[in-house]
């Protein structure tokens, strides 16, 4: 009974959809489960309604779209949702049914819903969640949006496509299940990465140093400052606060590439001008086998032995929480940070110290950062056309976007004289993770950000350098077994070497040999071949 009902529903929806897009030349080929029956009706409808639906206006049939919002903290969505759906009904004849996911949903529920074929239409995806953009597009979970047979972007997404920066569009193009193309709409948010020293200026000045002393030194010359800190603040004070691979990347100027499941393929970056090739040219390297890494590992070992690094941070499962604890306590001198615009003031307030960021390179955009937040339409969606229309509207209409993210003006927030949004108490019942919802430049600035926040934001990211490899991501499909073996081998000493808790003189050589025994050289070679091909084609 249930099944029959749902089949009927699908049938009517399909018909509705087709009548809605009746004016376009071709019937939607990617509409799921288009049955014989409906295609017959479609031809009938096409003849009768062709003239009635003259332009892309409000479609005839009503549909409901489900969208997975991760990182939401929503306990009462009634008022906001009513306003959203009134507006959507008028514009698109759509009802939005949000799935309020928490943060943990990234890793489990969203993946499961995708793999289980749930009836959710729109998912968040990106280069760093479990439902990673590239691989999931390749496995066929996301609808190709610029499919030559049914170009959704051209039909319903022109507006959003026009306003997106070029770097995001380049990053959005990947090899997917239906050929190379775009499988998700990139969210317009912080598009570049910039690595910085996260300096506790309060403590630094107590030692008699200034920020200039950090700026003028490299990682290899911090020794005296650390020694002074250890002297002054005691044995339990650990001045250097490293994070996973970040410190290594900053010091060696080699960064991981997208799509690499072996976790050892790195590209070098030119710290003066990231748009030019780095120390290794456009050749990719095994991150552990470079001279830079050797120097780094030796230095960090020296710092570790001198007691500048908390041994607890080197412990992989506790690392993140111990690090956060040190930050919140302000019990560190120099940490690492991936810069985000407008971040310094916020962390200073939160940690109760004066925090300044000292960049070690200019801001740059690579494939990883350009895929930082995206929205994809599931291939299980019954209404990909409508979903695209919705995404188009959401990312271009300030009213709708603000409504979705901030809630109802007067209830969840108010605008002050400068045009900044000031949240009310109701905001606690309805707060979304804004970066995960799309074009954040449509929002009014928040209190304290200043009226020109969005302009500054655009300018900062507009000036970022694009890497020569932007748009390329590694494809590990053919060598997945080797990548798995290498990833497993590298997990053994990657973190201890990065943190200095083992002696590189003892383990590094054997470690590299073991990586190679498991196929590291082949993996790097494959990656280089792929990159060369990409560069030649572009």
């Amino acid at each position: 009974m249930k099944k029959a009902l749902s089949l009927m529903l699908v049938g009517t929806m399909t018909v509705g959809l087709l009548s809605a897009c009746g004016k376009t030349e071709e019937p939607a080929s990617s509409v799921a489960e288009s049955s014989v029956e409906s295609s017959v009706e479609e031809s009938v409808e096409e003849t009768t309604e062709e003239e009635q639906v003259a332009e892309v206006g409000r479609p005839e049939e009503h549909v409901t779209l489900k969208m997975y919002f991760e990182g939401a903290n929503v306990t009462d969505d009634s008022e906001a949702l009513a306003a959203i759906n009134d507006y959507l009904d008028e514009k698109l004849n759509v009802t939005l049914e949000p799935v309020w996911g928490t943060w943990g949903d990234f890793d489990t529920n969203a993946v499961l819903a995708l793999q289980g074929g749930d009836d959710v239409d729109i998912y968040f995806t990106c280069s760093w969640t479990a439902n990673e953009y590239g691989p999931f597009a390749k496995d066929g979970y996301y609808v190709r949006l610029d499919d030559p047979d049914n170009n959704l972007i051209e039909k319903y997404g022109k507006e959003v496509w026009d306003i997106l920066p070029e770097v995001l569009k380049i990053g959005a193009e990947v090899d997917g299940a239906d050929g190379r193309g775009v499988y998700a709409v990139p969210g317009f948010k912080d598009t570049a990465a910039q690595y910085c020293w996260d300096v506790n200026v309060t403590k630094l000045e107590e030692l008699g140093y200034t920020l200039d002393d950090i700026k003028s030194r490299s990682f290899f010359d911090f020794g005296d400052i650390f020694a002074a800190a250890k002297e002054k603040f005691g044995d339990d004070f650990y001045p250097l606060l490293p994070e996973g691979t970040v410190l290594e990347e900053m010091v060696t100027n080699c960064y991981g590439v997208t799509g690499d499941t072996s976790e050892i393929v790195y590209e070098s970056i030119n710290p003066e001008d990231p748009s030019k090739p780095g120390a290794h040219g456009t050749t990719l390297v095994n991150r552990f086998a470079t001279d830079e890494f050797k120097d780094y590992a030796k230095k960090v070992r020296e710092y570790y032995l001198a007691g500048y690094i908390d041994p607890q941070v080197t412990n992989s499962e506790q690392s993140a929480s111990v690090r956060t604890n040190h930050q919140l306590e302000g019990s560190y001198l120099i940490g690492t940070q991936s810069y985000a615009f407008g971040y310094e003031a916020q962390v200073s307030k939160e940690r109760g110290i004066d925090v300044q960021f000292v960049p070690t390179s200019p801001a740059f955009t690579n494939t990883v950062t350009s895929q930082g937040a995206m929205m994809a339409i599931s291939t299980a969606s019954k209404n990909p056309e409508r979903a695209m229309m919705f995404l188009n509207l959401l990312n271009t209409d300030p009213y709708l976007f603000t409504l979705v993210d901030f809630g109802v003006e007067g209830t969840h927030y108010n605008l002050n004289d400068e045009g900044e949004a000031v949240f009310t108490d109701k905001h606690a019942d309805y707060s979304l993770w804004i970066n995960g919802t799309g074009n954040v430049t449509l929002l009014p600035p928040q209190e304290g950000q200043g009226a020109d926040f969005q302009d500054k934001f655009r300018e900062f990211y507009g000036n970022a350098y694009s890497l020569p490899t932007l748009g390329w991501s590694m494809n590990c499909e053919e060598i997945s077994d080797k990548c798995a073996a290498v990833a497993n081998a590298s997990a053994e000493y990657a973190l201890p070497l990065d943190m200095g808790s083992v002696d590189p003189d003892d383990v590094l050589e054997g470690f590299i040999k073991k990586l190679n025994d498991n196929g590291a050289e082949d993996v790097v070679q494959t990656a280089n071949d792929q990159l060369a091909e990409f560069l030649a084609a572009n």
Partner: protein, 308 residues
């Protein structure tokens, strides 16, 4: 008083002797301590302040006490009590249905004169080893059986455990003499009647044990809720707590990637103490339910070994 004394003496004659019993007690006390100390540790940490953990790490003697973690949980308000209700409801109904099915199946397997005995043994046992994997099971449950956002979704997928069936069968075969069933059959007792009137009373300790383990499994389960529940109305306690935890974990782990807006959220989270407080929320109710089952297990004990 005197009577009691005599009884006690008589019992002593049947025991292993005082020295041996002292040794037994010492061994068991040591092991019991080993089991309970980590739990005490959990309670202590749950009342420690984040400040203390940041400074001296996890310790039995925190430098400062705090109830932040509990406040954080209680902030959920009605949802917490609703989830408690859901957990109790699912545990009780699930255990009753599950144990009934288990007894029936195990009893048939226990009967040597059951024609398809070995087939059904294998039929159940096979599934402990081979499964279709998560995605196909998920699809069958959700799309074929409609197990989504309802209580059935929390109960049905865990109803049968072949392991318990086999354990139950073992209880039957080790405590019921074959002749008993033959005798009952000659008396003209129907199969169901024999099961309920004769077999069940004898195997009470076994049934209590399997019920207890089933109930604990239902109580502890968050996985089914993760798979099949999106509506907050049906979220059981364990999953509610699990969600909170994973939210906190994710924020702490990925705060750099998510961006500036969550940074101040992270600073207010009871990231280390919350996990411990959650354990307390889960364990406390079940410790009250525990003696109920234990009565049957140990009651059997008293009749079993001391009588005579």
């Amino acid at each position: 008083m005197a009577k009691k004394f005599i009884k006690k003496r008589k019992r002593n004659l049947m025991s292993v002797g005082l020295p041996a019993e002292i040794i037994f007690n010492i061994v068991l006390i040591l092991f019991a301590l080993l089991c309970i100390i980590p739990f005490v540790f959990v309670i202590v940490i749950s009342f420690s302040s984040e400040q203390s953990i940041r400074q001296i790490g996890y310790s039995f003697f925190p430098s400062e006490w705090s109830v932040t973690a509990y406040d954080y949980v209680f902030k959920m308000g009605d949802q917490l009590w609703r989830s408690y209700f859901n957990s109790f409801f699912v545990t009780i109904v699930g255990t009753l249905v599950s144990i009934t099915m288990c007894i029936l199946y195990a009893y048939a397997l226990f009967r040597r004169d059951f024609k398809f005995r070995s087939f059904f043994t294998m039929f159940a046992f096979f599934t402990t080893l081979f499964g279709g994997g998560l995605a196909p099971t998920y699809m069958v449950c959700k799309q074929l059986l409609g197990l989504s956002d309802n209580y059935q979704a929390l109960i049905v997928p865990a109803l049968v455990s072949p392991f318990y069936i086999i354990v139950m069968r073992t209880f039957f075969s080790s405590s019921i003499p074959e002749e008993l069933i033959e005798a009952a059959a000659i008396d003209g007792s129907g199969e169901y009647r024999t099961l309920v009137k004769i077999i069940l009373p004898i195997t009470k300790p076994g049934i209590a044990t399997v019920s207890l383990l089933t109930a604990l499994a239902y109580w502890n389960d968050w996985y089914l809720a993760m798979l099949y529940i999106r509506d907050a109305k049906f979220i059981p306690l364990q999953y509610l707590l699990m969600k909170m935890q994973s939210q906190v974990d994710f924020l702490v782990k990925n705060s750099a990637k998510i961006g500036a807006e969550v940074a101040n959220v992270v600073s207010q989270l009871p990231s280390s103490t919350l996990r411990m407080a959650l354990v307390v929320f889960v364990v406390v109710p079940i410790t009250f339910a525990y003696p109920f089952f234990q009565r049957y297990i140990i009651a059997g004990l008293t009749i079993g070994s001391v009588k005579g």
